[in-house]
Amino acid sequence: MGADIPIFLKPFQWVGAATLSILQEAGRLAAFAGRVKIAAITPPLYVMEILRQIIRIGYFSLPVVGLTAIFTGAALALNIYVGGSRFNAEQFVPNIVVLGITRELGPVLAALMLAGRVSAGIAAEIGTMKVTEQIDALHTLSTDPFRYLYAPRFWAAVLSLPILVFIADIIGVYGGYLVSTGTLDFSGSLYIRNTMNYVTSSDIAGGMIKAAIFGGIVALMGCYHGSNSRGGASGVGRAATLAVVSSAVLIFFSNFLLTTLFARIGL
């Protein structure tokens, strides 16, 4: 078929084929996400599996998220101090640190850490189950993998990430506090008072709403790419890579959409 097309039209053929391929992938992903969400809200729910995944996805991610938050808060405070000093606005360090951490950096960085640690892990685990016929075995034992494997991971990520982000917010602000009081000569009590006076519940709530959505993205990407892996070890490796990359891109894209939406509704 391709040989019949004049050479100068080939680029259009490539663009068309790529567009179709992207739309097909988007359609498959949407159908997969729909099935996961239906499985997540209709019985039977595997409650013990959800709890087990909360431990794996949430609890064991706490150290990496905490470390990311404290260094980010500290670096953010230094940068704001350097930038603010150009306008004699150094005193706004606590205000901008808490705003930056709760509204933007907390949810985005925690989600990116989860994309690296959890999405890749889910994709590798499910991919291995696929290539070793464990998913087929589930089917023969009358168990739907959407209910037994994917929905618990989806719930665990959606529930865990907001809690992780809340903790990251506190640790991130503390990182800013340590640097500001340790090297920038801020008064500790003044720093805390400025932080508490400036941050609002909607700042924190907005970050946690973002976190729940990012958690869903991380779990879905891991499950989707894992369940589509083929061809042994290399296929599983490719699935893990795709899960991380697609999670990260979708986190940034949805962060932009959510920030725009929150700005419009005044959250």
Binding site: E133, A137, T140, L141, S142
Partner: protein
């Protein structure tokens, strides 16, 4: 129960231009053991996956105990799966679960049996396949290949099914372990009075497990007969395969 427990009629399955099954027909009576032999890539596993509903055939009909199964009829498929067991080629044990939960998986998730009763039953079933109770709390990665196959067999027979599928049950095992697995399969299948469908290219296994042997070639069954007649089938394809000769009508898959 009907005279024929499982029947596949004129099943076709293609992957792109490659026609793997091309008018595949088999039937299995209750309590009988059928072994399907054939070379690599001839569609043995695909035929099993179609029978189990893991793959939708492009064309053809599948009946279980007289009821027609379609890929979208989940109730009929569930009714069939409740009465079947499956031993996968690599055992396909769930590596996040201890052995006893693997064996009792269906009982834990699809019956009202308590955890302790399910564990007791799992241990009894493990003993049937010559594994001790100490194995129950280990994880699959802590077992050898032969032991994993035994656990897979225990999982397949735990609910006392009417039909058991075996996908290359002896592949990857040394001859002695393979023979031990064959003995266990015969003992357990006959003990349950179940029917079985096995696919293999291991002739000693086929001769030992099967009441009947069928040869799959070019997407369809080209010969079927009693297991003890496979050596003098009068079919050139079967003769070449059974005697493992490179020369003959079948071209080596290289």
């Amino acid at each position: 129960m009907t005279d024929i427990l499982l029947q596949l009629k004129d099943v076709h399955k293609a992957f792109g231009p490659k026609h793997v099954l091309n008018g595949f027909d088999i039937d299995v009576a209750p309590g009988k053991s059928l072994v399907i032999i054939g070379g690599s890539g001839t569609g043995k596993s695909v035929s099993l996956k179609c029978a189990l509903g893991l793959m939708a055939p492009d064309k053809g009909e599948i009946f279980f105990d007289g009821k027609k199964l379609t890929h979208n009829d989940r109730a009929a498929r569930e009714a069939m799966l409740k009465r079947t067991g499956m031993l996968f080629q690599g055992a396909a044990l769930f590596d996040s679960l201890p052995i006893w939960k693997n064996v009792a998986f269906r009982l834990l998730h699809h019956s009202k049996m308590s955890g302790s009763d399910a564990k007791d039953l799992a241990i009894q079933t493990l003993q049937k396949v010559r594994l001790s109770a100490e194995v129950a709390d280990l994880y699959p990665s802590e077992l050898s290949g032969g032991m994993q196959k035994r656990v897979g067999l225990a999982r397949a027979i735990a609910t006392e099914p009417d039909l058991i599928f075996f996908d290359e049950p002896t592949t990857g095992l040394d001859p002695i372990t393979a023979d031990a697995i064959n003995d266990l399969i015969v003992e357990q299948v006959k003990g349950l009075g179940a029917a079985s469908v096995s696919i293999t290219h291991d002739m000693p296994s086929a001769r030992k497990i099967g009441d009947e042997i069928a040869m799959l070639f070019d997407g369809k069954i080209i010969w079927r007969g009693p297991a003890d007649s496979v050596d003098d089938s009068g079919n050139a394809y079967v003769d070449q395969f059974v005697h493992g000769r490179a020369d003959g009508p079948i071209q080596p898959a290289m």
